[in-house]
Amino acid sequence: MSEKAADSNPATPIVAVVGNPNCGKSALFNALTGLRQKVANYPGATVERRSGQIVGAGNLTMIDLPGAYSLNARSADEDVTRQVVTGTHDVEAKPDVILSVVDATNLAQHLRFVLELRELGVPMVVALNMTDLAARERISIDVPALSAQIGVPVIETVAVRKKGLSELTQALSNATLAPAPSDVDFGQTVRQRQKAARKIASTATISEGIGHRTTRRIDQILLNPVIGPVTLFGLLFLMFQAVFSWAETPMDLIEDGIGFLQIFFANTLSDGLFLSFLNDGILAGVGAVVVFLPQILILFLFILVLESTGYMARAAFIMDRLMASVGLNGRAFIPLLSSFACAVPGIMAARSIANERDRLTTILIAPLMTCSARLPVYTVIIAAFIPNQTVGGSVGLQGLVMFALYLAGILSALIMAAVLKRTVAKGEADTFLLELPKYQSPNIRFVLIGLYERARIFLRRAGTIILVSTIVLWVLAIYPAAPVGATEPAISYSFVGMIGSALEVVFAPIGFNWEISVALVPGMAAREVAIAALGTVYSLSGSEAMIEAGLVTVLNNAWSLPTALSFLAWFIFAPQCLSTIAVTRRETGGWKWPAFMVAYLFVLAYGASFITFRVATWLLG
């Protein structure tokens, strides 16, 4: 059965997976559904609809809901969970079965939520997860006694080792026909349920645990007043250096492959429109973007591993003070760090921030975090204009410039946050309340699924948005043809040349030539398209020799250093990206905030580029 068919088939029972954050819920979901899952938007933290199929017993549709501590929703993502399980969600149907995931090493705490969920009157199964960790911590739980007391089936599972999965599937399948849990009153307030949960947990627990000592030992190092912050900044620095050095070899390979294809086509096909379409349009345009896949995957590898090990919450703890100084909250660090990969999942992850004004501020500054789509832009310009040498022994100058660009983005984000919190998003600071989960070795499955999703989305973008805008640009760059006796390259007489000359009036004060001006337009679709567009424009206006030399060499000859620096400054703020604008509209519920965001980013970008260009010209002039 295909995913789509099953998903739209109302006869397939729906199982909602619910649990506290850090109960191994997503790991269990991944183990049950594997790659038969559909992520409606982005991987990473559970911020969007994740569904999947269990084939076999009963054909179940699983929905992974955002982690929540209770049905008193404190934040936008907890509210999604509340709406779905209570059947009040706009699109999602009320689930037929609730799979409540419980961390066996923290039974009393997680049981409270189970008692709250069983009041909903939906058939329920409890997965007692992480039983391997519980055994290691010498916790022993009497499962039949627990099941009898709460009146629902309890299955022991170890998601990461795929233990107990067939029993769980069978229990879920049985539950679709079972009645709702019996009517036992475990209390109506948080306090009463907490008390009941602790009583049940203590009678069902045969031996108490010793706690996770390793976690406390690691925290003594990683949350040490000195070593902690140093480690965090070291990790971030390593992340950005790795993006450069590790990706070098695979990127060279992809580049050589594209160059080989271009030469192959040039030698085998006759000169003409079709050859130009292949070489100048598709290969120069899409190829210029695909080459960055290794860098984007390395960046996501770091983020997914940090998330999977439990370090991300520690980073939020260390950053809270700094964030508080601009009126934000340590929790905002996680969406902002995700925004380094892409602002879209970052803006969605802001749902975990309870306070509406804090959430709005986080959304508005997320695009200032240098996203991976800007990497291609930075990489090409740095490779063309910054000498590849080392400073102070081992630190590469190119990597250092990259780090400075990221830092500039971060600093402007902090300044903007402080400004926004004092003006449009004024209000009292939110609380900061965050569980620091146990350290775990990175869940390879979680990381691989995340990377696979990321590569798929990136290549799909390259194959659709980027391909289409590249083709459109190529067509506009070819027609109309140059008049007889033309002195300039043919492209100057084309539509692209005309649009570029018109826009150049606006961008000339910041040092942009007409080629750059025109590249900014398709760059609206996605930022990296600006590089693809430059590839196409310069490929069409240059000679064979220049094409073979690659975009880096072309730019080095065509641009002055002040122009290159101005272009970099522009992209720190880069107001254009349709997906970011669209997701901001969806998350803020209107056009007001996306319009505000585009306007302020444009002003910042133009101002920064103007100053950079003028100062650089003056210094070098």
């Binding site: 501590y69 209770s70 008193n72 404190r74 090493t105 923290n106 009393a108 705490q109 409270r112 307030t189 948080v190 306090r191 907490q194 008390k195 602790r198 645990g209 706690g211 996770h212 976690t215 406390r216 925290d219 949350l223 007043p225 000195v226 902690g228 912050p229 919450a313 939020a316 703890f317 260390i318 809270d320 003070r321 700094l322 508080a324 340590g330 609380t431 900061f432 309340l433 965050l434 569980e435 620091l436």
Partner: protein, 87 residues
């Protein structure tokens, strides 16, 4: 809420403090504030062992506390709602 003479707000304690949660500070005697409810939902409860493991190096706030089997990070302002008795 009865408060024992030796009890004090968790938010005023230093790293290394260890004790037991004896109650919560609420504005009203019968209705618990949302902030206290949220602390309960996160895992704070009467009778649990609590200790301060770490504090943020920049300004001693927020703090990381061990409650039962969990470690929770929170700001001192919220931690002041938790009433503790030193061990």
């Amino acid at each position: 809420m009865t408060s024992l003479p030796s009890s004090k707000p968790l938010g005023n304690c230093k790293p290394g403090f260890s004790g037991t949660i004896s109650g919560f500070f609420s504005d009203h005697d019968n209705v618990e504030s949302t902030a206290v409810e949220q602390l309960r939902e996160m895992g704070f409860a009467e009778g649990l062992q609590v200790s301060i493991l770490h504090q943020n190096p920049f300004g001693k706030d927020p703090i990381a506390v061990r409650v039962g089997a969990m470690t929770i990070a929170l700001r001192r302002r919220e931690a002041k709602l938790v009433q503790v008795t030193p061990a």
